[in-house]
């Protein structure tokens, strides 16, 4: 399956991911090690914008906080279109990539997520991994297009 030209949605779970005027912060794109990966790539979880249900999936996602299921993306979501991601990929060909990683299990009351994927960085191929990671986080934040606040996501759910 290919990738949609609409690109990706990134859910925002922390208020730190927005600047005071509503711009997306570089802190919204933090890459983390996933111990289940065998390839040592670091991940930043996203949903592919295959259709309108992708954003609804983000709107409905919950996380388990001390036994309570709460909205995972309490502060909204943002989007980046595919051509921008591809240009970033061309700039850092051995470092930045993306993938589909559908979730087939229902965890914590969440539905399966066929839209799920990851932005990836391979820091083993960088001479200065920490700086490279910051480059990419900064660029991703800068190239975000639409920003949806939590109320926008709630409206999507209400309209179902």
């Amino acid at each position: 399956m290919g990738y949609p030209i609409e690109g990706i949605y990134r859910g925002i779970s922390s208020s730190d991911s927005f600047l005071p005027g509503g711009e997306v912060s570089a802190a919204a794109f933090q890459f983390k090690i996933n111990c289940n990966r065998l390839d040592n790539l670091e991940e930043c979880s996203i949903n592919w914008a295959d259709d309108e249900r992708s954003l609804v999936n983000i709107a409905k996602q919950k996380s388990n906080k001390a036994g309570d299921l709460v909205k995972q993306f309490k502060f909204g979501a943002c989007s980046i279109c595919l051509d921008r991601l591809d240009e970033l990929k061309n700039k850092y060909p051995t470092i930045f990539s993306y993938e589909r990683a559908p979730v087939y299990e229902s965890v914590d009351g969440n539905e399966q997520n066929p839209y799920h994927g990851n932005l990836l960085i391979n820091l083993s191929s960088s001479d200065i991994p920490k700086v490279t990671k910051r480059h990419i986080s900064s660029v991703l934040a800068f190239i975000t297009e639409k920003v949806m606040i939590r109320e926008d996501l709630d409206s999507l759910i209400a309209a179902l």
């Binding site: 600047l19 005027g21 800068f142 190239i143």
Partner: protein, 198 residues
């Protein structure tokens, strides 16, 4: 070891007829890290706050609407206060010291230049602690960003400036190393960079 000395000059911060001016100097002393006390930080942070309060004033003493510089945000003072408060709450560290120095240097450069502050929309500013412990200071403009990623290990800190490109879909990126001795030149670079958005 190196520590920082704070000097003030140019009049009282409460005097509305003058732009506040504070000067931070790097001095080579043999003082121990114990001397970097809360008291030092409080004094420094109060100086920065005073600088931000000076924003809304002109040299002839008239109050000026802070929104003049910020079409998006209700009050620059509040925004700066928010970043300062965030940094203030951090434990004493190299990270905190460098962040405060950067904040003061850049804002002094901005506010002491009439042409600059009247022509460049004031940025959204944020201070954030990232998951790996990095302190992120961000100045966001419509056509660019100035990001400082400050580690407690100074040699891993870096500044990343981004500017929108007409030729590509991703911004042009400039990167600079941060250390205690490069703060003056880095603040100068950041100010010059942002002035290109005017």
């Amino acid at each position: 070891m190196y520590s920082f000395a704070l000097a003030t000059e140019g009049g009282s911060y409460t005097d509305s007829s003058q732009t506040p001016y504070i000067n931070i100097a790097l001095v080579n002393t043999k003082s121990s890290s114990d001397e970097l006390t809360d008291c030092w930080y409080k004094k420094f942070e109060n100086a920065i706050r005073s600088l931000s309060y000076g924003l809304g004033r002109t040299t002839n003493g008239n109050d000026r609407n802070a929104q003049l510089f910020s079409p998006v945000l209700p009050s620059n003072e509040l925004v700066i206060d928010s970043a300062v408060s965030f940094i203030q709450a951090l434990p004493i560290s190299n990270q905190k010291r460098i962040a405060l120095l950067l904040l003061e240097k850049i804002h002094h450069a901005i506010f002491s230049n009439d042409s600059f502050r009247e022509n460049v929309p004031f940025a959204q500013i944020a201070a954030t602690k990232m998951d790996d412990g990095t302190l992120l200071l961000e100045w966001a403009y419509k056509y660019g960003r100035v990001n400082f990623f400050i580690d407690d290990k100074a040699d891993e800190s870096c500044a990343i400036f981004l500017m929108e490109s007409l030729d590509t879909k991703i911004p042009v990126v400039y990167e600079f190393h941060i250390n205690e001795f490069s703060i003056d030149s880095l603040a100068g670079k950041a100010t010059a960079f942002v002035s290109r958005f005017a």
